[in-house]
Amino acid sequence: MKLNQHYIRFYIYVSVLVFIISLISSYFGFKLIVIKNIDLSLSEERKELIHEFRSGVYNQKHGDLVDLERLTEVPAKFNDVYKTVDVYDKDLKRVVKFRELTTCFYKNNDVYRLKMKFHLGPHLNNIFTIFPYFLVNFIFFVVCFYVVNSFFLKRTFFPFYQILNSLKVYDIQKGDYNPGIKTNIYEFNELNDISSNLTDRVHKDYKVQKEFIENSSHEFKTPLAIINNHLDLLIQSENLTEDEMQHISIIYDAIKRLNNLNKNLTFLFKIENQHFTDNHWVALSPVLERIINANVDLYMDKDITLSKYIGGEVNLKINETLLEVLLNNIINNAFKYGLEGSNISIRLTSSSLEVTNKGDATQMKDINMFNRFVTSGDVNSTGLGLSIVKKICDLYKLDVTCTVFEDMFSVFLEFPIEEPTDFE
């Protein structure tokens, strides 16, 4: 939720709550005033009636509303009692609210009780007639307050959005954080300073890490190159026996593995640290065809048959090197672990790529295939192939799954539905 949405929502909730509370409290307030007034006039009227009665000019004109009664016993209490009572009205056929005053007085040693009623209904209804005005006033107030507040909010939070945008477009390789804010609000200045320090440090760390990766990879390669070159010279020797040559051959292979391991680890680090940033729109099928052809060539003696279906054109905005590595790791795995004389199926549609091969069921496990150094028990594998696949897919938000069904292993790659707007 956006900041101003959040603010509006909160503001509306609070306003409505305040409105309801003030409505209720003012209703009771008004009611209290109305009843006070009625009680006052009842009290005035009582004096008049008692006076009339004592002077003998009292008549019955007051009807139902006044009830005068002579008491045989003197009541314990003589004071006035005001209360609200419900009376059933036969004409209206409903209960009507009345205010009733009960009082006692003497006339010539006789005790009388006087009950006077006053119809509350019309007076209470009067309260409701003022509520529309009340409502209009309230809405006017809420709107004014909202306009002023949102203007204030926008102005106040402008530096915050500047910082936010600057961070959004921040490029770790360039270290270009500079929102250029001018504000005298302490918190925003502090946020800006902290962001600036953090981005600075991230940029420096990135550079150090990049150098470290390049250097360590370099430090590995130099001794590998020395071993390799010496072997190249050693095999020129005329007096080597077959046995010695076998040893050399094994050393060659081990060096190759070491070199691949170094390359792949560096590669993983580089993907993780976003060294591959130049993305272009690349058509997938030509790259796929090239990789399939190369692998067919390399595994010529495995007698693998290929069912290839290319039924759609896929364009991805991706780094071309990464695309090649991604596809090659998937296709090469199929050829590498595909059984001799078996079939590999490669299906490319406009939304997905599926590569299925028949493998050794005892060596296949579908869980954690994407983790580093998880191998199918094959000594020559570095165990990084599929984890590189996963890393590249994560980077480009491609969905990749691998499934094992009996002795069939398949990798399923889903492409996002996004069409290129421009070709570079």
């Binding site: 990879s217 370099h218 130099t222 040559m245 060659y252 691949n260």
Partner: protein, 225 residues
């Protein structure tokens, strides 16, 4: 043919010098930029093999000078630095080739010969070995002047053999030369055997001598005897 090796790592320098000298090149070597500049000022070289990370600076600096002052000299960058940027800037500055470490000496030889062929004059597109004739420009192989119809990977293998004639070539270096990065993930390079068998069959069928010899499990040798 004169070659200058600029490399601070003694063992790499030594092996490169030994391999190239063994193939009839006149090879000199230096360990830093200053010595390289001194040599270049006095002698003329057909090709410079240049390491990028040198004790007194980057090889890219001297690359600019070589290209400005000795345009006829070819340059191959030998680098252990794993950076695409270095490769791009090296080639942009005029390097003829970029060979990442670790490399095979046979591969270095192939790259070197290719540059020297490209840089020298008329007739240099033809590589000859006895009755074999390879037209590098047209990618054609002739046996006794008859087109042997050798193409694709077999052509690449044959040219690599002839380039490194009389040397034992490891299977790994052939595979890497011809299939490049695709061989990285291979468990075995036995597939090479099939390709070489086919190549041999085609050549001998045309009446060419069988010059490809298998050297136990390690590799092959292309030689007269």
């Amino acid at each position: 043919m004169k070659v200058l090796v600029v490399e601070d790592e003694a063992e790499i320098r030594r092996t490169v010098v030994q391999y190239l000298s063994g193939s009839g090149y006149l090879v000199e070597s230096v360990v830093n930029l200053r010595e390289a500049e001194d040599k270049l000022a006095v002698f003329e070289y057909d090709c410079v093999l240049l390491d990028l990370m040198l004790p007194d600076g980057s090889g890219l600096d001297i690359l600019k000078k070589i290209k400005a002052n000795y345009p006829q000299t070819g340059v191959i960058i030998l680098s252990a630095k794993d950076s695409i940027n270095d490769k791009i800037s090296g080639l942009d500055l005029g390097a003829d080739d970029y060979l990442p470490k670790p490399f095979h000496l046979e591969e270095l030889m192939a790259r070197l010969k290719s540059i020297i062929r490209r840089r020298s004059f008329a007739g240099s597109n033809i590589v000859e070995f006895k009755e074999l004739k390879i037209d590098v420009e047209a990618r054609q192989v002739f046996v006794n002047n008859v087109d042997a119809q050798i193409s694709g990977k077999e052509y690449d293998i044959l040219l690599f053999f002839v380039t490194n004639k009389n040397k034992v070539i490891s299977k790994n270096s052939i595979a890497e030369h011809v299939w490049g990065d695709y061989t990285e993930r291979l468990d075995s390079i036995d597939f090479l055997y099939t390709h070489i068998k086919n190549l041999r069959k085609k050549l001998t069928a045309m009446g060419c001598g069988d010059y490809i010899k298998s050297i136990y499990s390690v590799g092959y040798k292309f030689a007269d005897i």
